[in-house]
Amino acid sequence: MIETQQLTRRFGDKVALRDLDLKVEPGEILGFLGPNGAGKTTTVKILTGLLEPSSGTARVAGFDVVEQPLEVKKRIGYVPESGALYENLTGGEYLELVGQLHHLDPSGLQRRIDELLGLFGLRGERDQRMTGYSKGMKQKVLIASALLNKPEVLFLDEPLNGIDANAAMIVKELLKKLAGQGKTIFFSSHVLEVVERMCTRIVIINEGRRLVDGTPAEITRSAGAESLEEAFGRLTGSRDIGETASDFLKALEQV
């Protein structure tokens, strides 16, 4: 499970995350939404040990992320937004490296790598360097690496970026089944349709603050909107979409 209290992160004068209180139970798929620069990635980075909070506390899988970062990292899987990989390794080698870092049993590891790559249709590319992979293929390797150690908590930051529709369906189905097994899933995304369909609960943040927390239906209702998309627009104060598009066109014509 994930639990944060008064979690805050400042970058100089800018407060990227402000007093975030959050609790995600095992078996839940939490959709974490917000416009660009709202503090989503900062939150994920703190929870995965990439960034230290300026104040407040965060516990993941029962361990404090600042005090016991290694214990946390042993129990999580993470698909970062800008998926950094050692691209001169083959897909198989990269997953093997991740498996070794998690102390997975060598023979079981090979089987698991094979299974995961097969699941994503990458078995044939296992021995090819990732420099030759497409964006979607790299994303699939990242997802596979996040699942390799059978994590208790899974953090996904825009996980479906660049992957094809078939693989996306597999991932969505897989996440539901993992939640069914009692895993905690933290799903950060801009794609509202996916979040709405997959997540049992949604939190929307803006300018580092939590705006709402509830099921998609509750959020839509409380915002007085007809869809989650409309509710998101109202809550995060975005401009009228038609008006913005017209302004864009005008600007382009001036170039």
């Binding site: 993470y78 970062p80 093997e96 490296l97 870092l101 998690h102 360097r129």
Partner: protein, 546 residues
Amino acid sequence: MLERLFHWLNVDYRQWKALTAAALKLDIRSSAGVVGKTTSSNASGLVTTLFFYAFSGIFIGLGAWINKDVLFSGLLFLGFLSVMIAATILIEFHSIVISPQDFAVLAYRPVSDATFFLARLTNVLLYTLAMTTALALVPSLAYSLTLGWNPLMGLASLTAAYLTAMLVTLVMVLLYAAILRFVRPSKLRRVLSYFQMLMSFLVYGGYILVPRFFPVQDFAQASIPRQGWIYLLPWTWYAGLLEIASGTGGWMSYLALLAGLAIIAGLLTLASRRMSLDFSRHLNQLEDSAPKAAAGPRTDRGWLWNNRLFAWGEGRAVALLISSQFRHDQRFRLSVLSIIPLTLLYLFMGISEGTFNDPFDTRQVDYGSDGLLYIAVMLFPLMLASSLANSDSYQASWIYYASPADKAGLVKGMKNFVMFYFLGPYLLLLAAIFAYFLRDPLHVAVHIAVLAMCSHLSFLLALMADPVLPFSRPVRKGSRTSRMLVPFLVLPIATMLLLPTLFRIAYGSLFSMTAALAGLLLGNGLLSLWADRRIRAKSRKLIFSG
């Protein structure tokens, strides 16, 4: 046993093994320039560097063979090795030490700081020790034979070389670690730049200047006094091994060696506490602390910026790119800054004698240290072009291929930028120096024009051989060193042979001077036309490296 030792050091053996193996694979593949399943035609930069080290070792071996004072030749050997290792880390491997990529890939994996440190250190040491092996091969053979057949001497020279390489590597790593630890991210960019310049001065300056304090008339008979101060030099600690192996070592040799070993152990302990993933985290924060760009486009840069060469089109694009990369790309900035001290040192060496040989005095046959000035003029653009080609941002070069930009125009834009903004000021500085010594404005003007055209010619030839788009190639380990070291060997020799001859012919009379100037001008013009066609043809074959 190794596992138990690692456990004692709080290092995860299995993780260390996996990280080290992965790092090696990455380095070898990145050095060989292999992309996907397609092997590029570029030879491995690492192999070239190792070959260069082995080649340099021949001269050290000759020294060890000719001079029978093993402490003296050992000091020279280990001193040279130290400079080479430090220079390689400065040019090439500071990125291993301060690689932010590791943070992005490993920070959320359960890897402890101690394990990360040891894997990182192993990676750097594997390189420096491989280079040491290449350099020390011939000298170790020479030491085995110099005082009669004694294989122990060969072994001792190898061990001394490894210990020295380890010491230099640890010192460099710790210096970088100290900066990253104690400097705030907002100041890190500037401090790293200054540090790179300072270290370059120390390394290259030491290499060029120190021998001047120890003039040796007869190398074969030269010897070093066994006085107390000599044992303060780190190289003496390990060179003493040669004395011990030859049976001439006294108690000071043993004591110095023990001190040297203790210092390595101390540095290892210190390094294990200082270097961690936290280290990469600091570097990663550079992005957050990067100075924000001024709002709106900058249009008021004056004539220097808005002149015809860089006012529009590809020339403008390249100028904007290079100047922005210099401000924000740490690696590019550091590689440029490490060139400046070297050329300034050449400049200093050239004028340090207090006199400057008038190239118009055709009775002069020996240009001596003045020649270094000319070497710097020829080397500077080439070294800069090499730094311009390889970049971590190479994947952004897709824009060259996706836009209707003329690739040959981009290559030429890069050449013009380097000539105008880097070589230009350098030649102005030279003009001031020449004006002081020659006191003849016409001579100065002609001489500078000749140098500028020669430099332009060599730059054109280099671009014709290998036209490259700015920041378009991935950084390959070893490539920078090999690209810098090969010109270091070839160009100075060519310069020292060709330029004095050219001066002698060209400055003999007013007629020959006019003819030479016209010839150079014509040569530059014709070669530019030829280069234009060749670069155009070759540029069409360039492919996106991302």
